[in-house]
C-alpha cells in the first residue's frame, strides 16, 4: 500500500483543500519550532553563564509568545485535519451511493448489501485516523524534517551529517512497512467485513438456533470467530509494530549519537554550549513526524484500505460482462444454452396485428443471459390495454427476471416496445407502476410509503389504493420503522401492492406490474385485489400480474405461461 493514494485528490476535492492548508500550517509550525528551540537554548546558555532574570526578561517574554503561537498552530492543524476527514468521507460516501444508484439494482445484487453499507459508513470512518493522525505527520515529514536538517547543517555540520546518514534508513523502512503491511492489512479489513456479517448472521439467526436448541452452542462459535480475528490481527501487528520499532530506534539512536558527539566536542572546546543545546533540541523534532508516520501507519491503513475499496467501485468500468461472470462462478451451471421455451397462449402469436396493438406492450424475442445461464430465452408476448394478464410458471422459470428486464434493470437481447416505442435498458420507466416480491417499505407513515417519489400525498388516492389492495384495515397514518418494520408479512405485501396502484393512478401509468402480490393474502383480501386490478384494466391500462393463485388465474383475460428452465 502506498502511503498516499493520489486517487484521493481526484475523487475528493476536500483532500486537496486539506493538503494546501496543512502544508501552510506545517511550514508555520516548523518556523515556530526553530524559534522556540533557539530562544530556549540561548536562555539556558545565558543563565548558566550567569545572566539574571532581568537580563533574560525579554528572551523569556519572546519564548512565552512563541509558546502561545505554537498552541494556536496545533489547534488549527487539528481542526483542519478533522474538517478534511469529515468532508472527504462525505464526498466519497455520496459518490459511492451515486455510482451505486447509477449502476442499478442488478449490479448491486451481486454484492452483499451489508458489505456496501458497512463500507460507506464504518469503513470510511476509518479515514478519521488517516486524516487526523497520519496525513498531517506525512506533511510535516515532507516540510519540517528537511528544513530542520538544513538548520542543523548550518549550525553544526557533524550533527547535520549524522542525521543525513541515518535518514535514508527511514524511506527503506517505510517501504518495508508498506510491503509487510500491505497484504496483511487488506486481509484484516476483509476479515473485519466477514466478522461484521458473521456476528450479525449469528444474532439474526438466533431465533432459528433457539428452535433447534443450538443457541447455547454458539458461544464456542463466537469465541472461534474472535480468536481467529485476534490471531490474524496480531500477526499483522507484530510485523507493523516491528517496523515502527526500528523506526523509533533509528530516531532515538540518532538523538543519542548527536548528544554524545556534541558532548565530546564541547569537552575539547570546539563547540559553544548554545549551539550544542540548539542542535540537541532540533534533532528529535526532525525525527518526530517521521516517527509518527510509522507509528500511525497501521491505524491509517484501515482507512486507506476502505478508501481503496471505494475507489475500486468508482473506478470500475462500465462493462457488464465482468460482474456477471462473478455471480455465475457461484452457481456452477453447465455451459450448454437452455432449450428454447416459453410462450404458449394466444399472446405468443406472431407480432404485427396492426391497429389492435395500439398502446400495447410487446416483447419480441427477448432473451436474457446471466453469465452462462439463460433464464429467459426467446420470449415473445403482447400485453394489451384493458386486459389483465397473469404470468404463470414454476419457480426459477425467469418470471422475475423478465420483470426486471421490463423495468430496465438488466440488459437483454430482442426488443421490448410500448406503443411501438422501443424501451432500452437503463432508461427511466415513467409509464410503469410496479410492486416486487419483497415489499421494500421505508421508515415513515404508510401514506408516505404509498406516495414514494411524490412531493405531496393525495389522501383520497391513498385511501382508494389501500382499499383496492385489500389493506383498508390499516391506518395510513401508522408510522413504520426502518425498512417498514412493524407490519406483518401480509400487511407489508398489501401496502406494497397499494403503492403500485397509487402510482398507477397518480402518474397515469400505462402499465401496472405486480410480482406475486397475493402470496401472503387470504382469500377475501385477494378477491378485493382482483376486483381492483380489473377496475384498473378496464380504465385502459395494461395490467400484468405474476402469480400462481387460482383466483387471479380465473380472473385473467390472458394467461402467459413460462415453462420450466431447461437444465442440461
Amino acid at each position: 500500500m502506498r502511503p498516499f493514494d493520489p486517487r484521493l485528490l481526484r475523487y475528493a476535492s476536500a483532500a486537496r483543500w486539506f493538503l494546501s492548508v496543512g502544508a501552510l500550517l506545517g511550514l508555520a509550525q516548523t518556523v515556530i519550532v526553530i524559534a522556540f528551540s533557539w530562544l530556549l537554548s540561548q536562555s539556558i546558555t545565558l543563565a548558566v553563564t550567569g545572566a539574571s532574570q532581568t537580563d533574560l526578561a525579554s528572551t523569556t517574554a519572546a519564548l512565552a509568545g512563541v509558546v502561545v503561537v505554537r498552541a494556536a498552530l496545533v489547534w488549527l492543524l487539528e481542526v483542519a485535519a478533522t474538517r478534511g476527514a469529515a468532508q472527504v468521507k462525505s464526498q466519497l460516501r455520496r459518490q459511492v451511493l451515486e455510482r451505486v444508484s447509477e449502476r442499478g439494482p442488478d449490479w448491486l445484487s451481486i454484492r452483499a448489501s451489508a458489505g456496501v453499507s458497512t463500507l460507506v459508513t464504518q469503513g470510511l470512518d476509518a479515514l478519521d485516523n488517516y486524516f487526523a493522525r497520519y496525513l498531517p505527520q506525512l506533511l510535516l515529514a515532507g516540510i519540517s524534517t528537511p528544513l530542520l536538517i538544513l538548520v542543523m547543517l548550518w549550525q553544526d555540520l557533524p550533527s547535520g551529517i549524522t542525521v543525513i546518514v541515518v535518514l535514508p534508513f527511514i524511506p527503506v523502512f517505510m517501504v518495508l512497512i508498506g510491503q509487510a503491511t500491505q497484504s496483511v492489512q487488506r486481509r484484516q479489513w476483509e476479515s473485519l467485513q466477514r466478522l461484521s456479517t458473521g456476528f450479525l448472521d449469528l444474532v439474526g439467526g438466533l431465533g432459528t438456533l433457539k428452535i433447534y436448541g443450538r443457541d447455547r452452542r454458539q458461544f464456542a462459535r463466537v469465541r472461534t470467530i474472535t480468536e481467529d480475528y485476534r490471531a490474524r490481527t496480531m500477526k499483522v501487528l507484530r510485523v507493523s509494530f516491528l517496523s515502527g520499532f526500528v523506526l523509533e530506534l533509528v530516531a532515538s539512536l540518532s538523538v543519542a549519537l548527536v548528544a554524545v558527539s556534541i558532548g565530546l566536542r564541547l569537552v575539547d572546546g570546539s563547540l559553544a554550549l548554545g549551539v550544542g543545546l540548539f542542535v540537541l533540541l532540533l534533532a528529535p523534532e526532525a525525527f518526530l513526524p517521521v516517527r509518527q508516520v510509522g507509528a500511525q501507519f497501521h491505524a491509517a491503513a484501515d482507512g486507506l484500505a476502505a478508501a481503496e475499496e471505494v475507489f475500486a467501485i468508482l473506478d470500475e468500468t462500465e462493462t457488464e460482462t465482468e460482474t456477471e461472470t462473478e455471480t455465475e462462478t457461484e452457481t456452477a451451471t453447465g455451459a450448454a444454452p437452455a432449450e428454447p421455451r416459453a410462450a404458449s397462449t394466444p399472446a405468443a402469436a406472431p407480432a404485427g396485428r396492426g391497429h389492435a396493438d395500439a398502446g400495447a406492450l410487446r416483447f419480441e424475442h427477448v432473451s436474457i443471459r446471466r453469465g452462462t445461464d439463460a433464464p429467459v430465452h426467446d420470449f415473445s408476448a403482447v400485453f394489451r390495454p384493458g386486459e389483465l394478464t397473469v404470468v404463470v410458471g414454476p419457480s426459477g422459470a425467469g418470471k422475475s427476471t423478465l420483470v426486471a428486464a421490463l423495468q430496465g434493470f438488466i440488459p437483454f437481447d430482442g426488443r421490448i416496445l410500448l406503443n411501438g416505442v422501443e424501451q432500452t435498458p437503463g432508461t427511466p420507466r415513467p409509464w410503469l407502476a410496479w410492486a416486487g416480491q419483497r415489499p421494500g417499505l421505508f421508515q415513515g407513515t404508510i401514506a408516505d410509503n404509498l406516495a414514494l417519489g411524490d412531493a405531496s400525498v393525495d389522501r383520497g388516492t391513498v385511501t382508494r389504493s389501500l382499499e383496492c389492495a385489500g389493506a383498508d384495515d390499516l391506518d395510513p397514518a401508522t408510522m413504520l420503522g426502518v425498512a417498514g418494520e412493524g407490519l406483518s408479512g401480509g400487511q407489508a405485501q398489501r401496502v406494497a401492492a397499494a403503492r403500485a396502484l397509487y402510482r398507477a393512478e397518480t402518474h397515469d401509468c400505462a402499465v401496472v406490474v405486480l410480482d406475486e402480490p397475493s402470496s401472503a393474502l387470504d382469500e377475501a383480501a385477494e378477491g378485493t385485489l382482483v376486483a381492483g386490478l380489473h377496475r384498473l384494466a378496464t380504465r385502459g391500462r395494461i395490467v400484468i400480474v405474476v402469480s400462481h393463485r387460482p383466483a387471479l388465474r380465473d380472473a385473467a383475460d390472458q394467461i402467459v405461461a413460462l415453462s420450466e428452465v431447461a437444465h442440461v
Binding site: T121, R230, G486
Partner: protein, 587 residues
C-alpha cells in the same frame, strides 16, 4: 391497531437522549466486560511506563551530558551519562514495541469475552425481545459498538494510567533537583490536564453525544437505499432519497466538525502548558543558579527541558478522553439495546430465573390451548387472543385467520419466544412451569421468514440433526422438492449467500422445512409455508408435510391463510382477527 408492534418499533436512533438514559450500573457492567483482568493488562502497562520514563530520561541525560561537557570536566565524569543516553535510547524503543504488542494482545483476547458477554445478554431476549432494533441499527450497534469497546483498555485506560504514573514520577524527580521547578511542573500538569478535560467536556461532549445516533440514522438510511434500490428506481424516488441521505450526511458532518474544534482545543491547551512549564522552570531556575540553595548548570538544564518530554507523553490524554466518551456511549448503547432485565413478555430459562423444572414430557405430548393470548414487549394490547385448540399426536390442524390476526404471534408463543395469557398445556402441564428449551424440544417451528446462514446448504441443515449423514440430508431435500435443485447447484456444498441471497424465497422456505423434518419434532408448527412458493409445489409441500405427519404420528399445526384440502387435516381453527372482516369462506 392491527399489530401492536407498530407502537413498539419506534426507531431508537430517533431519540438523541437514548444513550444517556442507560443505567450507569449497566454501563459499568458492559465496560467491565471490555477491561482485561490485571494479570493480562499489567505487562503492557509496565512496558508503557518504562518506555515513557526512558523517553524523559533520554532528554534529561542528554541535556545533563551537554551542559556538563560545556564545563569541560575530565571525560571520565561523562562516561556514565554517555552510557545512559545510549541505554535510554535503546530501551525506549524496545519497551514501546513490547507495550503495543502486549496491550493489543490483551485487548483482543478480551474481545472474545466481551462478545460472549454481549451474546449472553442477547440470548434470553432473542428473537422477540430484539424486535425494536432494526437491522441497520443492529449492524451498527452490536458490531461497531462492541468492537469500539475494545478501545477502552487500549486507548483509554492504558494511556491515562501511563501518563498519570509518568507525571507523578517526573514531578518527584524534578522536585528532588529543584523543589520550585517541581512545583511549577506539577501545577502546569494539573492545570493543563484539567483545562484540557474541561475543554473537551464543554466543547465537544455534547456534539459527540449527537454523533453516534446520527451515525446510526445515516447507517439506517444507507441500508434502506442500498437494499431497496430497485423500489426507489422504479418509483423515481431515488434522487429524493439520495437528497435525504445527503441531509443525514450533512448533519453527521456538521457534528463531526464541531467535535474537531473541541479536540483541537485540548491539544492546544496542553501545548500551551507544556511551553508555560518550560518557561516557568526557566524563570524559577535562574535565581537558584546563584542562590543559597543552589543548583548546578547541568541540573538547571535538566529541570528546564524535562517538562517538554513529560508533556509529550501527556499529549496522549486528549485523545484518550475523546476515545473515552466514544467508548462510554457505545457501552450505553450496548446496555440499552440488550438490557439484563428481560421484559416480562419474554419467558426466561429456569437456570436464569431460578425456577425449578417439575416434570418431564412424554415423547409425543398433547398440546392444549385454552383462551391463549400474547403480547409483544413494550405493547399493552394483545397481538393475539382467545385461541382455544387441542393438538393430540397425529392431529393435523389448520389454523386460519385474516392477515394481521396474530397467527405468527401465536406461533412464536407456542415455542415460548413470548409469554402467554390463558392456559397452554403440554401433557396437562402448564408450559409456564417448563423450561422454554424443554418445550422447544417437543414443539418445533418452521418460521414464516426462515433465516439462512451465510454458509453451505449442508451447514444450513446439519444443525437440525448433527448426526445426519449426507444421504439423510439429500433424502430430506428430495422430500421437500429440492433434490434436483441442490444437485444442479453442486450438491450440499453450494452456498446460500448472505441471508440466503443466492436462493429464492420458495427455496429458502423449503430448506427451512427440510430442517424441521430433520429435527423430527413430535409437534410441528408450520407458519405460512406456501408464501412465495408456486401453487403446484405449494400444494405438494402441504401434502408432504401432512401425509408424512400422518405416517409418523406427528402433530402439525399448519398456519396458512390459503385453503388446505379437508382430507389432509383433522380440524380447522380460525383465529379471531382484531379487525372485523368478512369471515374466511374456508371456515
Amino acid at each position: 391497531m392491527s399489530d401492536p408492534r407498530v407502537n413498539a418499533s419506534s426507531d431508537p436512533t430517533a431519540d438523541p437522549t437514548a444513550d444517556t438514559t442507560a443505567d450507569p450500573a449497566e454501563v459499568r457492567a458492559v465496560l467491565r466486560l471490555a477491561q482485561p483482568p490485571v494479570r493480562r493488562f499489567a505487562p503492557g502497562l509496565a512496558a508503557g511506563v518504562l518506555s515513557a520514563l526512558f523517553a524523559v530520561a533520554l532528554l534529561a541525560s542528554s541535556a545533563w551530558l551537554i551542559t556538563r561537557a560545556a564545563e569541560q570536566p575530565p571525560i571520565m565524569f561523562l562516561s556514565m551519562a554517555v552510557v545512559g543516553v545510549r541505554a535510554f535510547a535503546l530501551g525506549r524503543s524496545a519497551f514501546r514495541y513490547l507495550e503495543r504488542l502486549a496491550g493489543h494482545d490483551a485487548a483482543f483476547r478480551q474481545l472474545a469475552d466481551l462478545r460472549l458477554g454481549v451474546f449472553a445478554r442477547i440470548l434470553p431476549l432473542a428473537p422477540a425481545g430484539l424486535g425494536g432494533t432494526s437491522r441497520g441499527d443492529l449492524l451498527s450497534r452490536l458490531v461497531r459498538d462492541v468492537d469500539d469497546l475494545q478501545d477502552f483498555p487500549l486507548r483509554v485506560v492504558q494511556p491515562l494510567a501511563t501518563a498519570g504514573i509518568l507525571a507523578t514520577l517526573s514531578v518527584f524527580g524534578v522536585w528532588l533537583v529543584l523543589p520550585a521547578a517541581g512545583l511549577t511542573l506539577a501545577l502546569s500538569l494539573l492545570a493543563g490536564g484539567l483545562l484540557a478535560a474541561l475543554a473537551s467536556t464543554v466543547l465537544s461532549a455534547r456534539s459527540e453525544r449527537r454523533l453516534a445516533p446520527l451515525r446510526g440514522t445515516l447507517a439506517g438510511e444507507v441500508l434502506e437505499v442500498v437494499e431497496n434500490l430497485d423500489v426507489l428506481t422504479a418509483f423515481g424516488a431515488l434522487d429524493a432519497r439520495l437528497a435525504g441521505l445527503a441531509t443525514a450526511d450533512d448533519r453527521l458532518r456538521r457534528a463531526a466538525l464541531r467535535r474537531s474544534l473541541g479536540v483541537g482545543v485540548q491539544g492546544a491547551v496542553l501545548s500551551l502548558f507544556a511551553g508555560l512549564a518550560t518557561v516557568g522552570a526557566l524563570w524559577v531556575g535562574i535565581p537558584a543558579l546563584s542562590g543559597p540553595v543552589g543548583i548546578s548548570g547541568p541540573g538547571f538544564a535538566v529541570v528546564v527541558l524535562v517538562p517538554m518530554a513529560v508533556f509529550e507523553v501527556f499529549g496522549m490524554i486528549p485523545l484518550a478522553l475523546g476515545v473515552w466518551r466514544q467508548v462510554r456511549s457505545s457501552a450505553a448503547r450496548v446496555a440499552s439495546a440488550v438490557p439484563t432485565v428481560v421484559p416480562v413478555e419474554i419467558p426466561v430459562e429456569p437456570a436464569e430465573a431460578g425456577i425449578s423444572v417439575t416434570s418431564a414430557l412424554s415423547a409425543r405430548p398433547v398440546l392444549e390451548l385454552t383462551n391463549v393470548g400474547a403480547r409483544w414487549p413494550g405493547s399493552r394490547a394483545l397481538a393475539v387472543s382467545g385461541v382455544t385448540l387441542r393438538l393430540a399426536p397425529g392431529d393435523r390442524v389448520h389454523l386460519a385467520g385474516p392477515s394481521g390476526a396474530g397467527k405468527t404471534t401465536l406461533a412464536q408463543t407456542l415455542v415460548r419466544f413470548l409469554d402467554y395469557t390463558g392456559s397452554y398445556r403440554l401433557d396437562g402441564v402448564e408450559a409456564r412451569t417448563l423450561a422454554p428449551a424443554e418445550v422447544r424440544g417437543r414443539v418445533g417451528l418452521c418460521e414464516q421468514r426462515p433465516w439462512l446462514f451465510d454458509d453451505s446448504i449442508r451447514q444450513n441443515l446439519l444443525f437440525a440433526r448433527e448426526t445426519a449423514t449426507d444421504g439423510d440430508l439429500l433424502a430430506v431435500l428430495d422430500r421437500v422438492g429440492l433434490g434436483e435443485w441442490a444437485a444442479q447447484r453442486g450438491g450440499l456444498d453450494a452456498r446460500v449467500g448472505e441471508r440466503g441471497a443466492l436462493v429464492s424465497g420458495g427455496q429458502a422456505q423449503r430448506i427451512a422445512l427440510a430442517r424441521a423434518l430433520l429435527a423430527d419434532f413430535p409437534v410441528l408448527i408450520v407458519d405460512e409455508p406456501t408464501a412465495n412458493v408456486d401453487e403446484a409445489q405449494g400444494e405438494r409441500l402441504v401434502r408432504d408435510i401432512l401425509v408424512t405427519a400422518r405416517q409418523d404420528g406427528r402433530a402439525v399445526l399448519l398456519i396458512s391463510h390459503t385453503p388446505v384440502p379437508d382430507d389432509l387435516i383433522t380440524a380447522r381453527v380460525v383465529v379471531p382477527g382484531p379487525v372485523i372482516r368478512p369471515a374466511d369462506p374456508a371456515s
